[in-house]
Symmetry: C2
Subunit: 293 residues, 2 copies
């Protein structure tokens, strides 16, 4: 499997589904739908929904059944980026190589576009098909929990509060678990649930998700130090400039790289029970580590 | 029935339920849970969840079965107030007689507290008991739709975009339908659904909700013009100062008062099929109109 063409094909499928689920720009009021679509179709990597689809396949399901969950997690991820970029948060002007939402639409509309994407995520999931083992309500509870005050939102709070303060390794891991691993794990769990996964399958994929999620964030931290702005598509050195704690800052570059490797091995171990069905998930885990860090 | 003691008792019940559903202040990260609770327990009128409970009773249900829906709509209402008060939106310093969330916790945490309340609303509802006619997923879809880019969020967008511009009566009604009537109607519909309401019952209560919701907003507009700050618990004359279109500004005070009366009569007509079971809803509609405007 050629990963880059695989990803391109998946992104195309996901874009089609997102386009179908989001109100058109001609829906009143136009501004909010333009703003939502601006950030959703800003050329993101679609990592979370791609994992949702691959998790469904690993459990023997069809990707069509996982589309609503995939769109829901991408809407939540995008909302969190729009709000994180606001001047009252990380104050970032660039995202995926383009001006951030509030730079184009103003702070007020950016707050509302995030709110609307968060809300529509639950609407999309609520309209999806339940499976025998996993009622839609249970899937929504899972996603809301991972996105809520204890995890996704909680991580951003801890991140804000940590700025300019000296954080230890435990604080840093806590932030990463909340900010990145929780939603990534939920993305994978929802894919599994859409395929009527057994409890054992959900458990293994949860371990996989947590490992991949942390690995992904460690690598992002490394890339912020080692890559120039053009390559990142967002302002490089931003974490250092705002004195944010990062893996390289706390543990050094070598140890950070070793940790990323260890987490990827843990991810692979979690996939053992799935045999060949998990080959795509394996390739995705490798792809995450193969980013030049 | 003495409405003020009835409301006090309902508020006490609802506070107990909200306290049970929201993470405690000792839950990590503390700041976000403090901020969420600060605004949830800021002495609001609890109008929407009170209507949820009364709608459940009108359909022959138990209020205990409507508690999760009641808490969910109050969380969504509170999130929308926190975000509306932000400097990049309506920029208000006072709400319910106390400093607004961002004045106490800062803009970043206020955005996140709103995000977390919106998210937990769906989590609370997702964990509630389905009824025969109304799966939880359908209830969540209903609430998300009313809270989303077409309605609650859409209304705030239209409101923002209308500031300083000359709006006509139709624009104004559109904003009020979105900003107030949609969530209020959803609050009532969810109460009905928690009581396994028939389609005809849901339809009648939808009409009731839309009429009450518009009446409520017309009266709020009137009060902003006629009442001093101390009595409102929020900055009086704010709408005039920010050149917002209001009912009195567009239609005049007399016509606005007449419209509030007409809407209340429409609300009462919608309750006819419910007989005595809807006496509480009737009293609540009267109470809304009996505010001194």
């Amino acid at each position: 499997m050629e990963i880059s063409s695989y990803l391109a094909a998946r992104i195309q499928l996901l874009d089609r589904e997102l386009n179908r689920h989001l109100p058109s720009e001609s829906t009143k009021p136009h501004t909010i739908h333009k703003a939502m679509r601006y950030s959703i179709f800003a050329g993101g990597k679609r990592l979370r929904p791609v994992l949702t689809l691959a998790a469904a396949e690993a459990c023997g399901g069809k990707i069509a059944d996982a589309f609503p969950a995939a769109c829901a997690v991408e809407c939540i991820h995008t909302y969190s980026l729009i709000h994180d970029d606001l001047p009252c948060m990380d104050d970032d002007d660039l995202r995926r190589g383009r001006p951030t939402n509030h730079k184009v639409f103003g702070d007020g509309i950016a707050v509302l576009a995030g709110d609307a994407l968060l809300t529509v995520a639950f609407e999309i999931l609520a309209k999806s098909k339940p499976t025998k083992r996993h009622p839609i309500a249970a899937q929504i509870a899972d996603l809301a929990h991972a996105s809520g005050s204890r995890w996704l939102v909680g991580g951003q709070v801890a991140d804000l509060e940590g700025e300019g303060r000296k954080l230890g390794g435990d604080d840093l891991k806590y932030i990463h678990r909340c900010k990145t691993a929780a939603l990534l794990t939920a993305s994978i769990r929802l894919g599994a649930m859409s395929a009527n996964a057994t409890p054992a399958q959900v458990k293994s994929l949860t371990t996989f998700g947590q490992s991949v999620g942390l690995a992904f964030q460690v690598i992002d931290d490394i890339l912020d130090v080692t890559q120039p702005t053009e390559k990142l598509g967002k302002s490089a050195g931003k974490d250092v400039a705002s004195q944010k704690a990062t893996y390289p800052a706390v543990f050094g570059l070598d140890k950070s790289r070793a940790e990323a490797g260890r987490l990827t091995r843990a991810a692979h171990a979690a996939l053992k029970p799935f045999g060949k069905n998990a080959d795509t998930l394996r390739a995705l885990a490798d792809y995450l580590l193969a980013r030049e860090y």
